[in-house]
Amino acid sequence: MRSLPLGRLLVIGVAAVALALLPFQLSGFHQTQAARVALYFVAILGLNILTGYTGQISIGHGAFMAIGGYTTVLLSIHQHLNLILTLPVSVAVTFAAGILVGIPALRLSGVYLALATFALAVSVPQFPLKFSKFLGGSNGLRTTDTPSYIWLYGVSWACAAIGFVLAWLLLRGRIGRAFRAIRDSEVAAASSGVALPIYKTFAFGVSAAYAGVAGSLLVLVTNGYVQPGLFGLLLSLQILIGAAVAGLGSLYGVLVGAVFIALLPTVAADVPVIGSAHGQDVVFGLIVILVMILLPNGFVGLLARLDRLFKTAIKSDPKTS
């Protein structure tokens, strides 16, 4: 991904125009559905930076989303801050939280890191129960005002676009090379002069900041209502599933992963068995297994395969040669 080929630029351009025109075609309900796609896009993008590019697994991104979500609601209640201004604060707070988690995580790798982040996902939603006076307990809190549908759509997709461009800028250069070097071999990266502690904690911070914005947006899409159940373990797993479906280590598949996890609950609502809330959990599980067996590189891996197939087909066709 050193430079943007014309083709990709065109794709991005078409997507941007489509996204700008889409709200005029959509009802309010579908605008919020589209906003959900955008917020999962941001969350998966963030996880992909950490897991896909830097090789550090996290099953705990729901925890960072919770921190972001509660930050937004608390700022709205106590500071009467405009909702859009809560987003940068959420970024800063979750970036700091990510760095704090990243430091002890330096000593862990592989399955141990997965377990540690798993613990994070389980423990963070307990805080609102423990400090229920301030954080609302299991009945939750709500923002003082709720955003309109078009606001949700616009802000979510703006966040997604900014997040995508920043991720691209970050990953194409020196930092991205260092991340990938760490993923491929920590020993080799260190011996080529990559400062492991700095890059790894930085990756955690950046990734958490993405999750934080996504968490804030998730709360706003949920009518500005936050309660711990919103950030259950399943959310963390869904983000990871989205990243796996998208293909770890690629930015382009993220949209597919986001569409998948954002729309399954309402699209499948009328389907028997699958439509039930817990039927969907089974579907998510099955999809992960299928993706792991059939598409180990996710959606992007599928594209690459089709591409190869296409090329061999063209080569064997005498007319085009």
């Binding site: 589209a34 159940g229 809330a277 591409d307 296409f310």
Partner: protein, 415 residues
């Protein structure tokens, strides 16, 4: 543009088009959402799966009653079309599913949705859109007290604090030296109950020697039961749903603790569940709770006209349900109230008309046959937004083959 680029472009295009197709809006516009010449569409969210899925009996029984009404000709010729959707008691699912009901399905009203937190999550949204949010399956007092700010919302069952107040008064009158240990769900549901108990005890609230909260979805309440036992309490008060109340009863017996008196919140006092607890070794004889439904498992109510009608309807339209499980009569009573309100919401029902009908229920006309005889439906436009405010204390007898039996008479104004 490289081959890979083209392929990407095609696939991105496909993805976007699919997205639009999947989310394509239906263009039809109606003056009265959900009302046609032949139908009334309503919908609600319920936990059909997950830890609270025992409550799926309620919407099934509600739908049975609506089918019964439809077969009798419906409401002024309109058949009720009831959409039941599954939110698994998860507010983050309740929100998009409710939006879907209102904006895609275009329901006339959101009816019967179950659970406090799920309903809190859509409370603002439905009131801003002026969509009726009615006869909710939750006994919190918010719905009744906040009618000025949230005029489109109304609850149904007696509220939790009122019920707990009666337990407090009963303890003061009958158990003067009680040492009370309370186990309660650590959210508004449990805390409202606890607050009501304190009000009922009044000056004697120091009788409460220990209160043990548990979080919803917790795997075991053993720790809380052991703490209550250690506190020296001789009266156990359980403010929980069956999911934790039944294990609490069983654990108390298993740990060798036999409190002299037990009080069980009405939401957990379903005879079917108490029998399960008794069969698992819990000592349930003499346990006290509150009733307000026409519970056909109570011998004195089995042959009332309402009890018979309910059993007939369930046998025909929901044969898998057991009428002695009082959740079925919860559904029937709630659905009866909805049908009554729709019949009084105007010849062509309007949303404002429905709210008005629900807010002006006259106990001499709104005679719900599925409530405990003597319990009535009553609301007033200004000041009374609680449809049911009466309960009767009941005591369990007969162990695993037992039933509830009434103590005294129906008590008024429990709030």
């Amino acid at each position: 543009m490289g081959m890979k680029g083209k392929l990407l472009a095609v696939l991105a295009g496909v993805a976007i088009v699919t997205g639009i197709a999947v989310t394509a809006a239906s263009g039809a516009k109606q003056a009265d959402p959900g009302i046609t010449a032949t139908s009334i569409k309503i919908g609600g969210t319920f936990p059909l799966t997950g830890f609270a899925s025992t409550y799926k009996i309620i919407p099934t029984a509600e739908n049975a009653y609506f089918q019964y009404i439809n077969d009798k000709g419906g409401i002024n010729g309109r058949k009720i079309d009831f959409k039941i959707v599954d939110d698994a008691y998860d507010p983050s699912k309740t929100v998009p599913l409710t939006q879907q009901l209102v904006e895609q399905e275009k329901v006339f009203a959101v009816y019967g949705s179950l659970g406090t937190a799920p309903n809190l999550a859509v409370w603002d949204y439905l009131n801003k859109r002026k969509v009726p949010h009615v006869l909710l399956a939750t006994g919190d007092s918010y719905w009744g007290f906040s009618y000025k700010k949230y005029p489109w919302t109304i609850g149904f069952q007696p509220d939790y604090p009122g019920e707990a107040k009666i337990y407090g008064k009963y303890i003061n009158a009958n158990l003067p030296s009680a040492k009370i240990g309370v186990i309660y769900q650590n959210d508004a549901f449990g805390k409202n109950y606890l607050a009501g108990l304190r009000v009922g005890l009044g000056a004697q609230k120091s009788k409460i020697v220990s209160t043990q909260p548990f979080d919803i979805g917790t795997p075991s309440v053993q720790q809380q039961i052991l703490a209550l036992k250690a506190s020296g309490a001789d009266t156990l008060v359980i403010f929980a749903t069956p999911t934790q109340a039944i294990p609490a009863l069983v654990l108390a017996a298993k740990t060798g603790w036999n409190p002299e008196s037990i009080f069980l919140s009405n939401v957990a006092a379903v005879g079917t569940f108490v029998k399960i607890a008794a069969a698992s070794g819990a000592n349930v004889n003499g346990m006290i709770s509150a009733g307000w439904l026409n519970d056909v498992s109570v011998p004195s109510l089995a042959d009332t006209a309402g009890g018979k009608l309910g059993k007939d309807i369930l046998a025909k339209y929901a044969p898998t349900l057991d009428p002695t499980n009082s959740l079925t009569f919860y559904g029937l009573a709630d659905a009866w109230t909805m049908v009554y309100a729709l019949q009084n919401a105007g010849k062509t029902p309007t949303r404002a008309g429905l709210m008005r009908a629900l807010r002006t229920m006259d106990p001499t006309k709104a005679k719900n046959p599925f409530l405990w005889p003597g319990v009535t439906l009553q609301t007033k436009l200004q000041g009374d937004n609680f449809p049911i405010e009466q309960v009767i204390l009941v005591r369990w007898g007969g162990g695993a083959a037992g039933t509830w039996a009434p103590i005294g008479k129906v008590q008024d104004k429990v709030r």
